[in-house]
Symmetry: D3
């Protein structure tokens, strides 16, 4: 029971460089990312045995993804090869008052055609302590909806903890489409990443005044959920935000410190929070330690280019314990 | 009466990259810009039929300018070819306490030799609703002084609205040289971009306590001026400024919200304001809507590399209506 | 009857830089290309009025394509907006013994869903002297097969000359699939770009000893074909080839000089030949002049990055007339 | 007995870019390489289980090396951490008549302090079919001399085949220093990479007229040597060479075809030959097949930036079987 | 007595680009720096005759250093050639909450082997008004310790003013190692750059409440020290700091204004302060003018890439007198 | 009598990168060059004391030129500051069949306004053994014509050897304009760089069958000319040429070996030949040694980016003595 497995879609990300707009760009930076892959990569960099499962087309772009995952020490042996194309997205990196902009080109991706039967499910879940999934997968296709629920059932059966990040994406499905699907997963979930908007708009809970009340209601309805987590983001400008993390455990809501910081790369901030939290939960840390580590990790991620949080646990502890220094020599 | 025409000089801009100083630079980024060209390009991106008139030497650098203008949908058919050289300027991009620095190499440019007779003036002003000029042109040469007044007379005669941006440049001429020339244009102008310093130092108006008083005096002397506009810039650092826009219409001074923002490229901020204002005036918007759009457009420009505001009107409205978001997906 | 129209798919091309392999690349250079678009861009650079028709998704990547076409002076007003995605391909640029490698990601593209009814066909073919199509289009989808034949019929009806480049792509369909489709177009074609392999494998003609014999047989069967053209490429290495062009007109086969040259960008060499030939045919040049210009243009293209031949007709004539010089000053 | 192990030094290579000389360079491209590491990486890309052993300092530069090796699928678990610094070398990339130039900064490297006792030698050699070493290691330090002979003895004892590449480097030691050391290894070697100059200057064999005679003498003296291999390089210019490979097995000398090719990166050409040969030997291919594959692999390497041959076996077979094509689509 | 001489180690600095972490970097930017070299370069840019003395290996990397120094107008004729290697360091440039990180690879450098006897000491100190040294040199090797004290004695003897920057580096030696060495220099020093931590931890002075008290005690014990200087840095984030400079002269502590600023390159900020101070001291400016210039120079340095302050004295005076402007044109 | 002085115009050169055409370029590489500056820089790199004289505008672009010259060890103390602008030229770097293309923007440059009286002529020519001028200078302006002849007269008077490179540029003046001017210099010249075309078209000599005959006639008419030199270039392609050097001394014509080579940067090839020849003449080498060194130097220059030959004399001797090697390690 020693590894953490994540399953989802990884995409080629093509980003504009040097503050150019799309229409000014004649080069793109290539990175690879997707919520669950980002979590796996971040966990491996924290020193946790992690495995990532997906489906990729059989071409050299996928080779680059395998190399990226292996370089980070993520197990790739259960990745399925096949399908027609690699999901892709284009990112125009914003700054100041200009928001970043995403063009998805992920339809018809290999992952969206992944069937439960293609997976070596026993090999994947054996020795697995936590399985991490997200609400992006069921948004991709009917296949992926079916896949998600079947994996959850199997994981439950094998005694694996289920971590789930709601990650609602308005460009992939409507709230009305997402609500019944995501809500149906709640009885399976042990660790749940969901915020006020998820509680209100997707779980369709009553009107509460604050996060604490929402979390109380959720855990009353779904006593199986051991951890509820989310962050509150304040946007001062596209390149300066504040972030506070929250964890709800055994009826108590605990907040992290509030960080204000400049942003190099906004994408993957939520996944870094999830990875930070799973790191603490995996190691049975206290709720306060879990949320402090997860929030500092998420803040740190905003300074790293690419989707994933390329940082060691010591570097995160250093920020938590010593604050910010400019240079060590 | 459907197009807006701008006439002036466009230059090759060679900028330092990656925060290098001039003496550290062995590459330059090439852009093309000039106040009136920037206005034309911005208007075309807002969806307005716009035409740009200038004079360019017959060489491949000018080809690049034609391609740039055409890519943006700006009409170029009345551009005159000839003369000896393309005006050029070098920009050291500053940050923090280090100001940006400009080296002009625009003397003897083709545009500075443009004669009124070289222009297909009927073709240029036919179907033209607004003609936009600036105070940079008469600063360039005697030719250009004569050109400016002749075009204004012709435009007046043909019933075209005249927009004029004072744009005083201390590196091109002294206040004493500029004052009589620019003041002589005032009776022709319908839409005037001029601030407190222009009123004081160029129009030589009496000492007033605020912009409102200056604008009242100007419109009393020149009742032909239907719109008076300007911005107030506060410099927190080279890469963080605040900006507020002002419009004076029918005796009333109206201010935009005040924006504080980080800066990617400071050049062309004023031209983006002018283009934003002309967009509103062209569409007969209310003074409040005009100044709000113009100011948001100017702020947005500071996030775009190059001289011109490569942004659609929807993106500006999005900032006005929804404030700043970090990423949409 | 003054313009040349081309219709087909244009794709975003993402190329590796600095001799990197795909798995070494973390940036890609972005260009835009497709056989018919390349012909339109090249013709516009030769000074011919050209228009390009395609279908593009409604997103900022398509904006970049519009800007690229407009910068080159290609008319874009009949381009259809809609569909799901922009066709994309990845190019690993080879050299020496390492071949260039292409990964197509063009399935489900907007263009592949284009229906004849979506086209403003009257506007497109009015004043059109030559319509240029290629064998790539029918390889893309059933839609595109139907589209191709319907346009040919309409063009015939409206007295437009039809130019067709066989352009067989083994990654898109098999010879058995292509043969009946492409052969069915032959009765419509006035200008036909097809080589020995096309004659043998697609038209399924008998075994002849040389190109001349093949061309004789083709024109005997399809007397409507006024021009038959092709090139012979010799591959000394991935970055050094030789090229000879051939034209068959009124029973006579004429060859261009044989050029040996180094290669900067191999893609679009055939399209540059087609554009060069159409330039000569449009201007009623002699067969010898047509093939000499087309071949020199194709050779020149190999020195230009991107898919299209960004070169003026004077530069081509300079090579034909004066051979190679190193620098003019 | 399924893996191939290589042991030696890996260095950070800092190369000039864009044909700049050292004194023109203000950026360097970073790659990682060393003869034995290059062999391990190349073998892994051919699909062979390969492991690399070295000693690295405990800092983030070594992290990059681990990531590079793991990305390529090379086992790294027996790499020793410790010592003071990472060996480094600077490469000025030449072209035409300007030779490439190397500045070594490898003295005092962690690897040069590696002791036999620091190695998990049982873990390293277990299941190892071939151990590959080179003459660079004993040139680095007394430590490394001792290390080399001890490993050979242990490998012999454990029934592992020993492959050895003479790789004489005049910048590291003199012929007089190298000769007794390298000669003393000959009785241990099964697969020997050594050419005419090695035979003459290091083994101090008598004067023979050709390679065949030298190889006959070597195998007479050292009947343990099952394979003798080398290449003959002809230098037409710094960026155009010809290469022919030779293998001597059971008394017979067999040559590969002679390839003439352009060069992107000359470094690692010999290591690519060794890896190609070990691939064939590992798979019990015929001598002709071994040398043909090894030579084509070496030629291919010259087209790949960096020290190692990032190529699959299929790509090499494609060149052997089909010759050179320009692009496949 | 007209020149200022500095002596110390200069290193090749290899920095990450575009906010990449070390493990993401496959290029490095190359600069050259070291405390004393930075001071010499900055002084030369202020128009002061300056000379730099060091020891460099005889290879092309050193050629680049000579070229860098000569380009800046620094005299290099007394630099000693020899030794084994150039000291190197790697800089991961941080931002926001991510600190910059340095990997030193300077051990065994040529400079660390420099002996007093290798220096043309008479030529170096002749006509020298101020000799500037730092506490980095004695931390490098026993050689360098001996060298430092011998040079100080000789300078004293020849009537040269001695400037010394404590520059304690925890990565090079411990406080216990540094304390006796650095303290032993105090009787020789005329101009001393040392702050509260140096006073407390290295000079081991008693516990005082503020800088003024420390400086009083120092000058009581070492009346030879004519100037004591330091800065106070406040770290708001890795890329935003505040800085205040202090000077103590004839019993009085004077502070500069406090600047808050964004950071392009943090390295060399202290050296820029030292150079600014030496500029004022050399020119016999008032203490207030000295510290104002030094502090503004240090702040300016944070906007310049590389180790040294590439700025003229006029640009510093412009900030002192006029504050910050965005662009002059 | 120990230094060589060169006088002429130096320009900012802005070159396209990565094989882009002008219209594809949005960055330019910046170098500095001009025939006489190139000679001075090359000579300094050969270890000869060299000084360069010109006139530059007082702006930061000139600072970069001073830094470039000083970095190369060229004396700059007699450079005159003043005038309006820095001469500039744009270079589209060609390859294969695509010629490089130059756009001059040098009119009205500071140098073109240089008057003889502005020069510190005594300081310039004192201790000068050879003064090198070229035919570009008199082509620039009337000023420059007068300047050239006056300097020649003064040099003659002071016993300085005069070297002159005809360097006819058709873009600057016609043969008819150049002929009387350049011919009038011949009685002053000791070392003359002029080829067959110069003899025919500018000196208007009779029709001879070969270079030897022309050189005989020239030295008969102008017995003051001690050395006549030129090269013969064969253009296989834009990036592959052959070059042979010729020297005529005391009635004998001697040829260098013929080199065939690939080209990185064609500009400055002739200046490198001149510098190589002056190096030999300065050191009283034999005519054969002079022409061999000059030709190898010129060939080498074609592999170096920028205008000047950044190479030591040892590197040239290495090519002459050992031919081409690929890498030394």
């Amino acid at each position: 029971m020693s590894k953490i497995v994540t399953l989802g879609e990884i995409m080629l990300r093509l980003s504009t460089e040097n503050n150019n707009r799309f229409i000014q760009s004649n080069t793109f930076r290539a990175d690879y990312g997707g919520g669950e892959a980002n979590v796996a990569v971040s966990l491996a960099n924290f020193g946790i045995e992690s495995e990532y499962v997906t489906k990729l087309p059989n071409n050299p772009l996928s080779d680059s993804i395998f190399r990226y995952l292996k370089a980070n020490g993520v197990e790739t042996k259960n990745i399925v090869l096949g399908g027609e194309r690699l999901g892709t997205y284009y990112l125009e990196v914003g700054t100041s008052v200009r928001a970043s902009s995403v063009i998805y080109d992920r339809k018809y991706s290999s992952f969206s055609t992944l069937n439960y039967n293609e997976l070596q499910i026993e090999s994947i879940l054996k020795d697995c302590k936590i399985l991490h999934l997200s609400g992006i997968t069921p948004a991709l296709s009917e296949n992926c909806k079916e896949l998600t629920i079947k994996i959850m059932e199997k994981a439950k059966e094998m005694g694996v903890l289920i971590s789930f990040d709601f990650n609602y994406r308005g460009k992939l499905w409507t709230l009305d489409e997402a609500s019944p699907v995501l809500t149906s997963y709640l009885p399976y979930i042990d660790i749940c990443f969901a915020g006020i908007l998820d509680a209100k708009n997707i779980m369709k809970l009553g009107d509460h005044s604050d996060l604490n009340e929402y979390y109380k209601e959720i855990t009353k309805k779904y006593p199986n959920i051991k951890y509820l987590l989310s962050t509150k983001r304040e946007t001062h400008s596209v390149n300066e935000n504040s972030l506070t993390g929250f964890i709800f455990k055994e009826g108590e809501l605990i907040a992290s410190p509030r960080y204000t910081f400049q942003i190099v790369d906004r994408v993957g901030g939520g996944d870094a929070f999830a990875a930070g939290a799973l790191f603490g939960i995996y190691n049975n840390h206290s709720p306060k330690d879990i949320v402090d580590f997860a929030t500092a990790a998420s803040v740190y991620k905003h300074t790293v280019r690419g989707d994933a949080n390329l940082v060691s646990k010591d570097e995160i502890y250093n920020i938590i314990n010593n604050g910010i220094s400019t240079v060590s020599r």
